[in-house]
């Protein structure tokens, strides 16, 4: 789950990281009031889950509160990479002497949280990484010991030869790591970490991504989810414990398991079709999940055919069959459905389907070819 900049900064502030004062606004009036309250100049920054806000015109410097109002007016409602800006962060603008980059990510290769820090921070950090990798220090944190003081200080001195700044940065590393662990992050970044002309450290932008698997045990973090910034069908799918990504094709796919779901989409393309979505009903199953999956898929007007591809392991195919029956009784289908089921409780599932007038195949290639044909309007 992505957090907005203003949410990440709240968590960083709570951990002790120096963050410029500010607050979120959803109207130009509020933006002006905040600028007046905290004092100008301020930055007005679009809060959307997309990179490249600045280049899209979603981040503006404002010398006066009236200016903040005007810029907020322009940014609110703006479309950035397909997402509508619903909120702006109005925050005191920091004077910048230098910009550093500090990030932590859970790294597959080392199987640890890894710090990446660079004195060459700012929006071009990826370019720095690609062309001058020696300007980045990688420091994996041993989870058994946590971030040790000497490690934080080593990063501090890598960023700043000045001892006061190095110690200040080391403290911020510890605070960032604490926030990272306490929020169950898979990523946390401060970019830029700014040194002001008066030699103070300020975290001018912050980003956090939460491991979705952490949300159940962190209700306070889960409560930060901003559904207004997500596609409604994805919100719906998540609430139903389904993994759903909308695509542009016309074969609606309902599959169990991410690998099989991807392989099914690949096969749809292989046979000349176009998948309408990625949808994984997950490992353990119950009929309700299938009902929800069908509801979400059928709400997409592009879908011309529905393809179920279920290979039962921990998922019981009888649960899936029951779900199909229940869902189609509630809302009769207006497009054809192709069902492929095999594995756990397959015999029971087949009986349930037959008893309710569905036919089902146990061969994946056959089912996919049939679904592609039906979606094209060809006879099956």
């Amino acid at each position: 789950m992505d957090l907005h900049e203003y949410q990440a900064k709240e968590l960083l502030r709570a951990a002790g990281v120096p963050v410029p004062p500010g607050r979120v606004a959803i109207t130009p009036d509020e933006a002006e009031a905040i600028a007046t309250e905290y004092g100008v100049p301020v930055m007005v920054k679009a809060q959307v889950h997309a990179g490249g806000r600045g280049k899209a015109g979603g981040v503006k410097f404002c010398k006066t509160a009236a200016d903040a109002r005007e810029k907020a007016q322009a940014i609110l409602g703006m479309d950035i990479k397909g997402l509508t800006v619903e909120k702006v962060l109005v925050t005191v603008a920091a004077d910048i002497a230098s910009e550093a980059y500090v990030g932590i990510i859970v790294d597959r290769a080392t199987k640890k949280a890894v710090f990446m820090v660079s004195a060459a921070g700012g929006i071009d950090i990826e370019e720095v990484a690609a062309t001058t990798p020696e300007k980045i220090l990688y420091l994996p944190v041993d989870p058994r010991y946590g971030l040790l003081p000497f490690e934080a200080l080593r990063m501090g001195f890598f960023l700043y030869p000045d001892a006061k700044l190095a110690r200040g940065a080391a403290k911020i590393m510890q605070q960032l790591y604490t926030a990272f662990i306490n929020a169950g992050c898979s990523l946390a970044e401060i970019n830029p970490l700014v040194v002001t002309p008066t030699n103070e450290l300020v975290a001018v932008d912050g980003k956090m991504v939460i491991d979705d698997n952490e949300l159940d045990r962190r209700p306070d973090i889960a409560a930060l989810r901003d559904e207004s910034s997500e596609a409604p069908s994805e919100v719906d799918a998540r609430k139903a414990n389904l993994t759903f990504i909308k695509l542009d094709g016309n074969v609606g796919c309902v599959v169990n398991g991410a690998g099989l779901a991807m392989a099914t989409m690949d096969l749809v393309k292989y046979y000349g079709g176009d998948p309408a979505n990625f949808l994984d009903i997950g490992g353990s199953s119950n009929p309700e999940k299938v009902v929800n999956a069908l509801r979400i898929i059928t709400s997409d007007p592009n879908v011309k055919c529905i393809l179920f591809n279920i290979f039962g392991g921990i998922t019981r195919t009888d649960d899936v069959a029951n779900g199909i029956v229940t869902a189609t009784k509630q809302n009769p289908l207006t497009v054809p459905i192709v069902i492929r089921l095999t594995g756990t409780n397959e015999e029971i599932a087949m009986e349930i389907l037959k008893a309710n007038g569905f036919s089902a195949s146990s061969d994946m290639d056959e089912a996919v070819q049939r679904a592609v044909a039906l979606a094209k309007g060809e006879a099956a």
Partner: protein
């Protein structure tokens, strides 16, 4: 012959009284796996299906049964603790089926398991099966048949699909291992490939990867440098849209973007057979067994 499990595998089921645990414990027993005990705290002293004693702790269960393997079906918030409990109790093969284990939990579990000299398979995996001998996890037994093709996969149901197709075509398996798709797991492709290379009964290996990460590329390098047996590979997600980027950090740390094309190129460079569709494994493996 086989890798990791065989007729001598004596199994505990952690979470044996749960919905998934009890269902699959029965399935494993029916398959012939020697399920010697179950663990559910608070249900110690009860008996599962009339024959399997239940214990409050893994320590008690190991002490009483001498089990050498465990399979874990406990809910995600407790899975890390269950894995560590098994390792601390001296279990040497730990298979964690549970999906949704927080990755920060796994950063602690991984070194703990290593320090205790245990092998972890998973989490978020279907487990493994040595057809005709032992099944640990949730891979449906009847889709498998004994033979000499080793299977290793990051996916669950995709593995079943391919094993199923091999079996229908009369191609049996030595062992099938689902290593799971989580960012941090206990056993990777290379561990399994090395085991298959060392297993005299395995003649060829089928390997199923997915987009994301660099595990398949590293496996391809291992295959090129260390394997004498033929390996056929597949990558799921060839048509998937590019994944969400993980901040700047994600871009900085991964030298690779982990696309299917990149992985398939690595397979080809390693001299592997490459399946375009799951069903292609049948032809490609057959050709290599001849």
């Amino acid at each position: 012959m086989s890798i990791f499990i065989d007729k001598d595998t004596t199994l505990l089921v952690q979470g044996i009284t749960g919905r998934d645990g009890s269902f699959h414990a029965k399935q494993m027993m029916e398959y012939g796996t020697r399920v010697v005990g179950g663990v559910t705290p608070g249900k110690g002293g009860q008996v599962f299906e009339g024959t399997v004693p239940i214990f409050d702790t893994v320590h008690q269960a190991v002490h009483a049964t001498g089990a050498n393997t465990t399979v874990i079906y406990v809910p995600p918030p407790f899975a890390a603790d269950a894995i560590m409990e098994a390792a601390a109790a001296g279990i040497k093969l730990i298979v964690c089926i549970t999906e949704g284990v927080p990755v920060l939990d796994m950063t602690r579990v991984y070194p703990f398991v290593k320090e205790h000299g245990a092998r972890l398979i998973g989490p978020n995996c279907p487990g493994l099966i040595t057809p005709g001998a032992s099944k640990v996890g949730i891979i449906p037994g009847r889709i498998c048949t004994p033979g000499n093709v080793g299977i290793v996969s990051r996916s669950g149901t995709l593995t079943y699909e391919i094993v199923h197709q091999l079996t229908r075509a009369g191609i049996g398996q030595s062992s099938c291992v689902g290593i799971g798709g989580d960012p941090i797991n206990g056993t990777n492709f290379i561990d399994c490939l090395a085991a298959f290379e060392a297993d005299p009964h395995t003649k060829a290996v089928a390997m199923m990867g997915e987009i994301g990460g660099t595990d398949e590329q590293e496996a391809a390098t291992f295959i090129k440098e260390h394997m004498t047996k033929p390996v056929v590979g597949f990558i799921a997600g060839q048509t998937a849209p590019p994944g969400r980027r993980m901040g700047h950090a994600g871009a900085i740390i991964s030298g690779s973007s982990g696309t299917a094309a990149e992985k398939i190129d690595a397979f080809k460079a390693a001299g592997m057979g490459v399946a375009s569709r799951p069903v292609d494994f049948v032809e490609l493996i057959s050709a290599r067994l001849r």
